[in-house]
Amino acid sequence: MEWSGLGSVGSISAFWSQLVVMINHFKKLLSGKSLLISLPYLWLILLVAIPLLIVLKISLSDMGPTSVTDVLSWSQGWPTIKINFSSYLFLASDQLYIDTYLSSIKYALLTTFICLVVGFPFAYFMARAPKYLQPMLLMLIMLPFWTSFLLRIYAWKTLLVSNGIINNALLSLGVINQPLAIMNNSFSLVLGMVYSYLPFMILPLYANLSKLDLRFLEAAADLGANAFKTFWLVTVPLSKAGIIAGSMLVFIPAVGEYVIPELLGGSDTLMIGRVLWDEFFANNDWPMASAVAVVMMLLILLPMSLLSSYQSEQAESKL
């Protein structure tokens, strides 16, 4: 009896000390630094991860007569999981969806490429501009953000339509004798996308190029490289991180863009964002719409993961 009594006293005190250790550990977890780190994660879990899982769940369920059937159901006290791949199968078999995805990627790539070609020289000369001018140039890049995005796209509409400002001006000047078809086609779509996403290309490029050590350019010149060779063999490879970051920032939102194709695109400019909208709000087919969204996300995740693997590689190679 005594032994067991002592034993139980011992185990209780051991339990208490264990508990104190646990509480202290928990307190440490809640202390400033980890709290600061965990808050954004909490935010992301609540507002990104959970909704994403819901979307994934809906994409794998059936569309009932009034609402979406649940993947998880209870029959006779046992949980049953019923997964329905029909939306994905339909997606893979219907040429329209495949065409739309390809077309979205095509326009996103085109936009990214044009943004890069236009943005690189801009970022390059901004980084080389006198130091006192740079904040102002940077400000000019960001100025459009002060106006609503929607408003700016509408403004393009008034510029580009058949009796819009550009056509009227050209007509009255006699440059053309019938309005140019520059609205509701792939031209106006890409123009609108390049216009909207150009700052996202320029800013990371500028950040990268302004850090470029000019001695590398001098070293290249010293070793016999002319301006073009120096640019191609030194500047471009050394700004690779900026090029990738800028391209991602343009490409990713451009793939799923809805507003610009809706307002500036034509009936022939297929973009996945519009299909998504139609599935949700016109067809009211939530599983299908969710499946479209999930596939789109996977399409975007691929280049994203490439980027992050490149960045970690870069981080490793830094001294």
Partner: protein, 371 residues
């Protein structure tokens, strides 16, 4: 440690700089009417403090800057207006500027590829450069995977690969720590002499200039104060600035008291200097007498004679192991430095702080400079 400069067999001028001036922003005279010649095979050092214009002068030679006035000739050809990529000159940059995205091999091959050299020949040349710098097994490394000393050698190989007529070195040892510097310095000079390339090097470190260069040009405020061999600029500085810039020096201000063809007496506040050779000047001329610390002998006994010594109190001593530098305060509160080799292990005999000592020097150890 010091590497003897190679005697130049045939002195032909390779580089000639004629009256070059560089003005920045219309006002800042970085280089002011500089003329110099560098002989074939020479290692020529531009020595000076920061902002003396030595780096600008080097950049003018490389072609990164265009002179406001004056011409630059290389092997008789006027290269003043040639862009850097057309000059047969290569530079080893300060902290090397190795391309971080290229391997050691690609860095060395970069210049050769720009000349459209056949691939096989490039490979051969790169291999021989790698052998020269003893980094053959590091060919596929990126610069950040190398130590500072290895990066320095790659930078040297890259600048030598094109077999330039003139090699420019911008603070070649500046990025290395002290221990590594001495070793690298010897290696560097060894490689340069093996290749036989003419060099212009820029440094603020007089020791680096002394040990590496065959000729030193001391620069100050955009002009060259003195050009000469290392021992010339050290033992016979032509101005107080040069004397004070190169090494430590004790300066005594005074006037010429007696003046003869074979000797000169100069009276300064604390002592009389007796110079055992003639100089140009006249009685009453204000001059400064420069005496290097290592030329001073300290003694607790009064030296014989009335000239070339002074007396003072040891106020500080800095012990270096092999030698000690004594700071001696004289009667007029001037503090002079004297360097003594520590020849015995007998610590009891040693001069210590607070001792009254006589500092003397030979009549051949003086340099007299006109104020």
């Amino acid at each position: 440690m010091a590497t003897e400069p190679k005697p130049n067999k045939v002195k032909t001028d390779l580089l000639r700089v004629e009256g070059v001036t560089k003005i920045f922003d219309g006002v800042i005279k970085a280089v002011d009417d500089v003329s110099l010649t560098v002989a074939q095979g020479e290692i020529f050092a531009l020595l000076g403090g920061s902002g003396c214009g030595k780096s600008t002068l080097l950049r003018l030679l490389a072609g990164f800057e265009v002179p406001t006035k004056g011409r630059i000739f290389l092997a008789g050809q006027d290269i003043t207006d040639l862009p850097p990529y057309q000059r047969p000159i290569n530079m080893m940059f300060q902290s090397y500027a190795l391309f971080p995205h290229l391997t050691v091999w690609q860095n060395i091959a970069f210049g050769l590829q720009r000349d459209h050299m056949p691939k096989a020949q490039i490979a051969e040349r790169v291999e021989s450069m790698l052998k020269l710098i003893q980094l053959t097994s590091f060919a596929q490394r990126k610069p950040h995977q190398l130590s500072g000393g290895q990066q320095q050698r790659v930078a040297l190989a890259r600048s030598l690969a094109k077999q330039p007529k003139l090699l420019l070195l911008d603070e070649p040892l500046g990025a290395l720590d002290k221990k590594l510097r001495e070793k690298t310095q010897v290696e560097l000079v060894g490689i340069i002499e093996e290749v036989g390339v003419t060099c212009v090097l820029v440094t603020h470190d007089q020791e680096e200039a002394m040990t590496m260069a065959s000729t030193i040009a001391v620069m100050h405020e955009g002009t060259i104060l003195q050009t000469g061999t290392p021992d010339e600029v050290y033992e016979r500085p032509n101005s107080r600035q040069v004397a004070e810039f190169i090494g430590d020096v004790n300066i005594f201000e005074g006037q010429i008291e007696t003046y003869a063809a074979d000797h000169v007496r100069i009276r300064s506040e604390v002592c009389v200097h007796y110079l055992m050779h003639g100089i140009s000047g006249h009685v009453g001329l204000s001059v400064v007498v420069a005496v290097r610390p290592e030329k001073i002998v300290l003694s607790k006994k009064r030296p014989a004679g009335e000239v070339n010594w002074c007396v003072g109190e040891v106020v500080a001593l800095v012990y270096f192991g092999d030698h000690t530098i004594y700071h001696i305060q004289l009667a007029n509160a001037q503090v002079i430095k004297a360097q003594q080799m520590n020849r015995t292990t007998d610590l009891a005999e040693a001069i210590t702080s607070g001792d009254r000592v006589y500092a003397s020097w030979s009549g051949l150890a003086l340099v007299v400079l006109v104020q």
